[in-house]
Amino acid sequence: MIDKKTKFRRLVYAAFVLFWMTAPLYLNKYFIDVLNNVALYAVLGLSLNIILGYGGMFHMGHAAFYAIGAYTTAIINIQFGVPVLLIMPLAGMMAGLFALVVARPIIHLRGDYLLIVTIGLVEIVRIALINNVFGITGGANGIFGISSPSIFGYTINGIVHPHHYYYLLTAFLGITIVLFFLLEHSRFGRALRYLCSDEIAAEGSGINTAGYKLAAFVIGAFWAGMTGTLYAAKITFISPESFSFWESVVMFMIVILGGSGSIPGVILGAILIIGLPELFQGLQQYRLFIFGIALVIMMIFRPQGIIPPKPPKYPVNRLDKSEVVL
């Protein structure tokens, strides 16, 4: 039996997918580029959602992992001429490795303490990039001339042909949604939600809470790093200013506003925070003001986010009597 609410929700999702897939047919370059940014931030939001949404860890330094992915891509592409899409897994690994090293000593911190430390983290990365560490980051000027991705000899230029890049990003977003949905509905996803709900009870139930927190950081960072590749290859130029503390705040807001722990929620959050302001270009300076007010109202009246996570369903009625054994 499908109730009305589920039917409605499915209809909305279907309409959204239809719109998203056909958007290049009727939207101009400018708006397609806006949607490209929405897709990028949706993936970033989903990767942060693993840490912040499921795991409940207040991590406000996600831009650091994004930056490491983007810089890994830029440096290897320019120094060795490796095609950017081949660098993507490596960019993910570098970000994941960095997360493993930096998150380990701070993983036991709770709530606001973790928040402050992760803010420090993103600032350290940004300032290190500006100071041109190891002489390979290009300092405050950043790195120019990153090549565009190419698939089967066909180059996808993100600046000249945002329509083409749109499908690349859509594919990545689609894969991310599917994989993260499967992750959410698994032993791993459950473990994160247990430790988010009550860490002592989770540990007492036999869950390696410290290990899972670290794993959440590494997976989230890995994905943010890969997204960094697509970002760097899209605009072909990166600088430390693209990875400021504000970027981390934006990602954080996407998750919290949309609904932490909810995949549709995070995507909606990306649309509202990245896409919506573009529609109100005419309002100019009032934009941020309205945005701020909206956030305050949301947090008062719907702190769980616009689309809170749905409790997962388990196929209990599909179990055979013989399977229900002690």
Partner: protein, 256 residues
């Protein structure tokens, strides 16, 4: 043969000796009670056994293996599951998911096999689901599986904690005031459940204030007062022990 042996453990909080040189042996397949007035250090002993606190000195052996200072989830994996005095369920999650939490350490699939939905992962999830449903039926909560844990009655929440602990296939289950907040009927049903748990070959160690439950269920008791062990033995002998009576009722000097 003892399953759990606690050897001269001491735990100090600041200047207070919460547990002072306590030793006891829990025999295999027994129902073993730890009693004492409020603040005697019973829960602290539990927290030391389950690794929530680290002992200052002394040692704890489980199944002839030293588990002193081991981290909690490792201890659960070795076969000691617990419930909490102040109920600690995952309140906003479903009853079934709460039990699945206990099953967690007995299944293996990691994030990659989950993202790829490998056949092994799916079979494992299905088995975990079956086992968890069976545990719910065992404690009498089978029909509540889809409910939100926080919406259960107090007594049922206690039962759910027991189901969660049982789902990890423990050899020893540590129950911290399982009858707290239960009415008479629920307590009577709990005694039956404790015997049923023992019937599965699981050793039960419990803290309880409800003396009728303790006297009915336990074969062996240890009495703590001010962190020290003051008596040990069969329930009938404990009942007559003057030191225990004094601890519970106060000495003559106090009775004014």
């Amino acid at each position: 043969m003892s399953l759990l042996s606690v050897n001269a453990i001491t735990k100090t909080f600041g200047g207070l000796k919460a547990v002072d040189d306590v030793s006891f042996q829990v025999p295999k397949s027994s129902i073993f009670g730890l009693i004492g007035p409020n603040g005697a250090g019973k829960t602290t002993v539990f927290n030391l056994i389950t690794g929530n606190y680290k002992v200052d000195c002394g040692s704890i052996r489980f199944n002839s293996e030293d588990i002193t200072g081991k981290i909690t989830h490792k201890i659960v994996e070795k076969g000691i599951a617990r419930t909490f005095q102040t109920i600690r369920l995952f309140g906003k999650m479903s009853v079934l998911e709460n039990v699945l939490a206990g099953r967690h350490c007995r299944i293996r699939s990691g994030p990659v096999s989950a993202m790829l939905r490998l056949p092994k992962q799916r079979a494992e999830e299905r088995r975990a689901l079956g086992k968890s449903m069976a545990e719910l039926e065992f404690v009498g909560l089978g029909h509540e599986f889809a409910n939100i844990a926080g919406n259960l009655s107090y007594g049922n929440q206690r039962l759910l904690e027991i189901a969660r602990a049982l789902a990890s296939d423990p050899r020893l289950i540590v129950l911290d005031e399982p009858a707290g907040g239960m009415n008479e009927q629920e307590t009577a049903a709990l005694v039956d459940l404790i015997f049923k748990i023992q019937g599965r070959g699981i050793t039960v160690l419990l803290i309880e204030h409800d003396m009728s439950l303790v006297m009915k269920a336990c074969q062996h008791l240890v009495v703590l007062e001010y962190g020290k062990k003051i008596a040990e033995g069969a329930p009938d002998a404990i009942k007559e022990n003057p030191q225990v009576i004094e601890a519970y009722l106060g000495s003559d000097d106090d009775v004014f």
